[in-house]
Symmetry: C2
């Protein structure tokens, strides 16, 4: 079959047209896209019905079918998400440094677009519209490589977005959906480092490892969230229980759900029996070390793997630790660099916890479930980085830009 | 031969000890390193003499010998550079965002170290000390892989720095010089993505391409600087001439030297004959398009390659362009994303130039030779990125850190 390079090159050319839009034009564009998604709901839902039928024929599981399915309510949510991105503050042109040197030259750092973003993701068709909106808002073009299950849905969404682009005089290629699902096409995409500035894979660990393994383009990756809740000696018991229940049970399949509970030995007797009760009420299976097991009826023995696991389910690993330092050491060993929480009323302990850990999000007396771009005030999120480069943690619009230097003088020379 | 993985793993372990040092301790450490370089000058110069003798035996060229050679003055400059890094503002702990959400949680972004930096470079032994100082100042450990020519010099410098580390209770492995010069060792280094957070290659294009080609660790690269000076219709002639002479002649081998001069057609008659005169006086060879050639005696015809070339020498490509837009289009086609300069007294033209171009440094009426970390106020520079990711342009201490989220609440849950 053919090379995808011409499609990606067309996207790169379109990036110049996107970057040339001013703030008002980009806002108008995204509002038009939001309206077009609603106006063309019928076509998108019809395409989605084809994907769903094909997926059912292939015997795809219910969880996947649910992620794939669109209905009028989900389509409306998609359109609203695009409109919300339209309304966000413009990251472009922001001046992050402004300094006059002794020789009189003025040195500014100003945000500009990255260029071309490649999103590589699995079955959710809403990612197609939301990722396109975020990339365009930050002045970038985007290549979208979704899963084969959502092929028709993604193509239909892209066609609708393309109409809005054309109406603003921007080439449709600014939002390019790759429909070539061959492994060779993906491998080719990951080699196009002259055309793609950043690849963001979103999906299962297998997909992300494949991208990281084969990419010559820069990749920002998020493998998994093994989030820890450490309950300190000085924790408020009721608060710690609430953080545990919210962190583990409010959405267990989310990457910001608590997977491991660590409890200071001095508090274990008071805390763990209560924790066992509330967890049991919510159907949470507990895998514990011997000290915790003794205090938690119905718990089973935790294995080494349980402490490294992202369960994404109503399963919790529990361990009693001798003190704060042992808690920190456990987290340093098993961290996925995503989110760690301390429950403590002791400011010293909280400060030590924050300073000792280098995860993307470190929280004090706050539920891990707030570790999300929207909740942290980024407006919307294109992904979560667990790579300490460019962006770390939830990535909003700023992560789709770069700061460059603008220098002005009156003829200064260095001599 | 053996694997280098144990050495790099020791460096990674040492990174935790470096990150645990507070600001005053890191400053003390760097001052001690600076003093130790002076105190051990004899040993370093003796090691350097061995490298120089070996290089001469191998018939290495004079330019390379000069870059390799240390003498008491250069050693003093090296020690001073380390002391200057010690005195820079601490980038760690800087709060770059501080925001209270409607639910009362406080969201901060705070700078932390990247972890382990791998510097891959060629013959200058001063890079060993300066890069180590910058990495440590930003709380990182560093793996240094210099060229084989400087092997003894680099090992001697590392030994001296290691003594200062030990005295502060930090494992010497925090500054690890790799002496294994096999290609396999380099390839292994570039695969260690679990241990290395960032690789920075510095040197010729061949080295940088090799690193970019084989790395699975993140790489920030700087291929070359094809810097443009565009002289607008509204330029002040004397100022533009000064920017040209400084940009081309003050240090032609630097990556921020001007390589291509573009002149607005309406100014060509007035500007180019004068330019030809001052360039001839300084021995600059001019390669020009037909319109410029007619105005510049002694110029030869420019080829397509000349406009893409980083001459690093007293050679200049010249072209007359119809107007600002043609100048911008030429730069967009040939840019290396390094530095572009406009000479113009017309604010509109300057604004258009800055907005249309996405190079790392865009300058108005300022010599390209100021495109340097020290000159732009970064204190010191570990490299120049022409990759639009993480850092773009001259990289100072901030580029060796990452912002992460610190969130504090009073038990808030998401529900």
């Amino acid at each position: 079959m053919h090379s995808i390079e011409p499609q990606v090159r067309a996207c790169r050319d379109a990036a110049t047209a996107v970057a040339a839009l001013d703030s008002a034009q980009r806002q108008t564009l995204l509002k038009a896209m939001s309206a077009a998604l609603l106006a063309n709901a019928g076509a998108i839902l019809a395409a989605n019905a084809r994907d769903l039928a094909a997926a059912k024929d292939k015997g795809v599981g219910t969880a996947m079918l649910d992620r794939l399915a669109l209905d009028p309510a989900r389509l409306m949510a998609m359109a609203e998400a695009v409109a919300e991105v339209a309304a966000l503050d413009d990251p472009l042109g922001q001046v992050t440094r402004d300094d006059v040197r002794p020789n009189g030259i003025r040195v500014q750092k100003v945000r500009i677009p990255l260029g071309v973003i490649a999103m590589i993701y699995e079955a959710r068709p809403n990612v197609t519209a939301e990722a396109a909106a975020l990339c365009l808002k930050a002045g970038n073009a985007v290549v979208l490589r979704g899963g084969s299950e959502a092929l028709h849905s993604n193509a239909a969404i892209a066609q609708v977005l393309g109409g809005a682009l054309r109406a603003q005089g921007v080439p449709e290629a600014a939002v390019t959906v790759l429909t070539d699902q061959r492994r060779e096409a993906m491998l080719e995409l990951l080699q196009l480092h002259e055309l793609i500035d950043l690849a963001i894979p979103r999906g299962g660990e297998g997909l992300i490892r494949f991208v990281a393994e084969h990419a010559r383009v820069p990749v920002i990756k998020h493998y998994k969230g093994v989030c820890h809740l450490y309950v300190d000696r000085a924790a408020d018991l009721a608060q710690a229980l609430a953080l545990l229940v919210d962190g583990k049970c409010s959405r267990p399949a989310a990457c910001n759900a608590v997977e491991t509970l660590l409890v200071h030995a001095e508090l274990a007797d008071a805390f763990l029996p209560q924790a066992a009760r509330v967890l049991a009420e919510r159907g949470v299976q507990v895998r514990a070390d011997p000290r915790a097991q003794a205090l938690m009826p119905d718990s089973t023995a935790a294995s080494e793997e349980d402490y490294a696991a992202e369960f994404l389910d109503l399963v919790l690993a529990v361990k009693v630790v001798d003190d704060l330092e042992h808690g920190i050491a456990h987290i340093q060993r098993y961290t996925s660099d995503h989110t760690e929480v301390i429950a403590s009323a002791d400011p010293q302990a909280c400060m030590r916890f924050v300073q000792a850990l280098r995860s993307a999000v470190v929280m004090v007396n706050t539920s891990s479930r707030f570790s999300d771009g929207g909740q942290l005030g980024l407006g919307s999120e294109i992904g979560i980085s667990t790579t300490r480069l460019h962006a770390y943690g939830p990535m909003g619009l700023e992560a789709l830009t770069i700061e460059r230097f603008v220098v002005s003088g009156e003829g200064q020379v260095r001599g």
